[in-house]
């Protein structure tokens, strides 16, 4: 793709043209977590709709009818973490975060990507290699001299929270009986869902994938796990739109058939599910029917479970979990525009007191906080959240997004769970209570 085409993409269309609705009221600046902690980022308004006017103005070379290629006027856009809080706060519906992301892609276009940024985007590759060599990879990625070297060579901060590779992928643990492709004997859409596990559950946290399967099956839903690749978000965040589009096409090719047949696609990573729902359209301009049906069929797992509950279909035989559970709704979840479904589900568990930590962003924003030049910013963004979690004294906390979990766990020493793991635990507790009750009842 030429730079001219990228510029045209970045400036035209519903995202780019929404700059015209900007009132310059600065509400976005008041909510920006990055501008709150550093002067390096002047705030979403300046690099977004304000700079966009220059980008729009340079779309056509005067009098020529030809695209003129003018570099993005403001390189500070690279300090945007992409958390998306600005877009939700804008009273005029300007797609600020999306505009900034696209502007960053233009900045990067035509240059060979930094090795670091390229690498952070290759989650399937690093995941596969990491799992193959898990003991060595985990040792080295948590070895200080090695991390210092990585920091110096790649500019991935030596202190940044990197997850541990699982020794086996989630997919390889799936039983032989697990359906990974549609077949005529598959249950109808009311009794089955398609699971988009993403990279985190596959390479790092297979237990999250297992908890999702347990909870979904307990509610009478067979879980189909079709082949899939990275959703593409790490590529989008690092400005590598071409590669992201290829990933998206692969996933859409697999998922669109299920979506058309009426199956729901459920994700445990709230950022992957948001990518399927919105970023294919808003960042990658995938607006064909495949992209539309997949977007409309995609659910965050808590959103789906709450929907089951609202239809009276959720098994609520949760046992007691006597604990206080700090909960951080990730910035990406807010962009779903569905409220905080995990909190409603936690309220169904007896004894569980979930506390919304009420903080905009933990700082990590996917791969942002891993980068050497951004690590301190990310930690400062999340600092009030870490302090709030520490002050509860709780040993475990919950969050829907994996990179946030890793960031918070590293910063607080709490154990971080996906909400669906908490629900799986509550089901298990309920089973134990009933088993104990029936034993007690059967005694003479």
């Amino acid at each position: 793709m030429t730079i001219a085409e990228l510029v045209a993409e970045a400036t035209a269309g519903p995202v780019g043209l929404s700059a015209d609705e900007c009132l310059k009221c600065n509400v976005c600046t008041t909510v920006c977590p990055v501008a709150r902690v550093t002067d390096l980022f002047p705030g979403p308004k300046y690099v977004g709709p304000q700079a966009q006017r220059v980008r729009l103005g340079t779309l056509l070379a005067p009098g020529s009818g030809q695209l003129s290629v003018v570099p993005s006027p403001d390189r500070t856009v690279d300090w945007c973490s992409g958390c998306g809080v600005c877009t939700t706060a804008c009273p005029a519906d300007v797609k600020i975060a999306e505009m900034n992301n696209r502007a960053r892609a233009v900045l990067r276009a035509g240059h060979r990507p930094r090795l670091r940024d390229w690498l952070l985007g290759q989650t399937d590759l690093t995941g596969r290699l990491g799992v193959l060599s898990a003991p060595l990879a985990n040792w080295s990625l948590h070895n200080r001299p090695f991390r210092s070297l990585v920091d110096r060579v790649l500019q991935i901060d030596r202190r940044a929270p990197l997850p541990r590779f699982s020794r086996r992928t989630f997919r390889s643990r799936l039983g032989r009986h697990r359906r990974t492709a549609w077949s005529a004997d598959a249950p109808p859409p009311e009794r089955a869902v398609v699971y988009f596990h993403g990279c985190a559950a596959n390479y790092y946290e297979p237990h999250v994938g297992q908890a999702a399967i347990d909870v979904l099956e307990r509610n009478g839903l067979e879980v189909i796990v079709p082949p899939q690749v990275c959703c593409g978000l790490p590529l989008i965040s690092n400005g590598l739109y071409g590669q992201a589009r290829a990933r998206a096409r692969t996933n859409l090719g697999v998922l669109a058939g299920y979506a058309r047949a009426g199956y729901r696609i459920v994700g445990t990573s709230t950022s992957c599910s948001h990518t399927l729902k919105a970023e294919y359209r808003e960042m990658l301009d995938l607006v064909d029917d495949d992209a539309r049906v997949v977007a409309e069929a995609t659910w965050d797992i808590c959103e789906l479970l709450l929907d089951l509950h609202e239809q009276g279909r959720l098994d609520t035989s949760f046992g007691r979990l006597e604990r206080t559970l700090p909960y951080h709704p990730p910035c990406q979840l807010r962009s779903h525009g569905i409220g905080l479904p995990a909190l409603d589900l936690f309220a169904l568990v007896p004894g569980l007191t979930a506390m919304d930590m009420d903080h905009d962003c933990c700082g990590i924003a996917g791969t942002y906080g891993l980068k050497s030049e951004k690590y301190d910013i990310a930690m400062a963004v999340g600092a009030p959240l870490f302090e709030r979690i520490r002050s509860t004294g709780a040993k475990t906390a919950a969050c829907d997004s994996e990179t946030c979990r890793w960031q918070i766990a590293a910063a607080t020493d709490a154990e971080l769970l996906h909400p669906v793991e908490v629900l799986a635990e509550a089901y298990a507790a309920g089973d134990r209570e009933r088993a104990a009750g029936s034993q007690a009842g059967s005694r003479p």
Partner: protein, 437 residues
């Protein structure tokens, strides 16, 4: 599908007043808002009304309530109670509103060097209210290089004849730009950045030292040390920790400090919104920001649900009652479309407003006002929408929908300075009608 007892659309003063009141009454409340707006642009006080020839807000409210078709004709009775309720709600977060409906409207300085008439202001601005003595000096004092507050320009504006609206102004006006620690090297700072600086105890201690020294030096030079005067500072005295910052300013500075509201984002407005949001959370109410709602009134004259686009699949929110507090033309609740009609954005309710040829008035600054200003939704006394031009006895277009704030027809809130009072009173009325209190 999500559900609530009452769904509120809009998170400005009217929407948040209604939502918090409902949550306090035990209703399950869901607020949907396109974004943040009115509060973030506000000076943080309550402008209940200020029209020519009235000395107090109460007189202005009574005058406006006497005009057929003005929202106050329906809801003025809620204002005093609403104000008392708001004071109680803000007090939990340490915020105080100074002044009352019966206090004289006083000219208070603005950051462009004019004055505006106000009586109920946030505590930080209270120092601007007392009548000026002829021996008092006003020190207009701001951080050097701060682009939203230029002391020399403000002092020059306030020194012009008529600036104080016929009332006594200060005997002398002095402008001071003070170098505050560590700011020179920093980027273009906003008021919000400065407020966050003032939240840092160590930094603000040094900053108050610098301001105090500059004012004291000027006092010495003027030989006015016997009459302390007052200091007009930009409204940046802390965000999260404002009460402590204000107390420290009063204790440390050699004259009475007061805050002057700035261009958006307005820090006193952010404090007001923060306190209302905290109150909503305490009461278990919910808020989704970033979603624009729309819906259709059923054939039975009731609204069953509203929808918002969400990321991919519409969020459907059903409720027993709905309150629209989406603002007027400036707030985005009413949209002027290409062919020349005014459209209410959530339900497509018929808007009372001028024909399109009147939109382009000859003189946009006509003292009589712009014809579009009073455009809005006409309602009955319960604030349910009725047809344009219908009186309060008109039959409601929907039984379970109520309108609050500047979406209500018949007000000219910029001119009449009644926007906050109408928002508060109508928010309370709409809440009371939507759920048993």
């Amino acid at each position: 599908m999500a559900w609530a007892d009452v769904a509120v659309v809009g998170a400005g003063l009217a929407g948040m007043t209604a939502a918090v009141s409902l949550a306090e009454a035990g209703a399950r409340v869901q607020v949907l808002a396109t974004g943040h707006a009115a509060t973030h642009w506000s000076a943080g006080g309550i402008d209940a009304g200020a029209v020519a020839g009235t000395a107090t807000s109460r007189e202005a409210v009574e005058r406006l309530a006497g005009q057929a078709g003005h929202p106050y004709a329906l809801v003025a009775a809620e204002l005093a109670g609403g104000l008392a309720w708001l004071r109680t709600t803000l007090a939990v977060e340490g915020l105080t509103l100074v002044g009352d409906l019966d206090d004289p409207l006083r000219p208070i300085p603005t950051s462009i060097g004019s004055t505006r008439r106000a009586a109920i202001v946030p505590e930080g601005a209270a120092g601007a209210l007392p009548v000026w003595g002829p021996d008092e000096t006003l020190f207009v004092c701001g951080p050097a290089g701060f682009k939203d507050y230029w002391p020399e320009a403000i002092a020059a504006g306030l020194g012009r004849a008529g600036a104080w609206r016929g009332e006594p102004g200060p005997g002398r006006i002095e402008a001071l730009s003070v170098e505050l620690p560590g700011l020179r090297a920093r980027r273009n700072l906003s008021g919000l950045d400065l407020a966050r600086q003032f939240d840092q105890p160590a930094w603000r201690s040094d900053a108050f030292d610098a301001i105090a020294a500059a004012v004291a030096e000027r006092q010495r030079r003027l030989g006015h040390s016997s009459s302390p005067g007052r200091i007009a500072l930009p409204a940046v005295l802390g965000l999260a920790d404002h009460p402590a910052v204000l107390a420290e300013a009063r204790a440390r500075l050699p004259a009475i400090p007061f805050e002057v509201a700035l261009v958006p984002p307005s820090v006193p407005g952010l404090r007001l919104f923060g306190a209302l949001r905290a109150a909503l959370r305490r009461q278990g109410g919910r808020l989704i920001v970033g979603e624009a709602a729309h819906g259709t009134i059923g054939a039975d004259g009731r609204l069953a649900e509203i929808r918002s686009p969400a990321a991919a699949r519409e969020l459907v929110l059903s409720a027993e009652a709905f309150i629209l507090a989406t603002g007027g033309i400036a707030g985005g609740g009413i949209w002027a479309d290409g062919p020349g009609s005014l459209v209410e954005k959530v339900l497509g309710l018929p808007v009372e407003g001028p024909a399109d040829r009147a939109w382009l008035a000859d003189d946009p600054f006509d003292p009589a006002g712009h014809p579009l200003e009073p455009a809005g939704i006409r309602t009955d006394a319960q604030l349910r929408p009725v047809a344009p031009g219908a009186g309060p006895g008109g039959s409601p277009l929907a039984d379970n929908v109520r309108i609050a704030g500047s979406l209500l027809a018949g007000q000219r809130y910029l001119r009449e300075r009644c926007g906050d009072g109408v928002a508060l009173a109508s928010g309370r009325r709409a809440a009371a009608g939507s759920w048993p209190q």
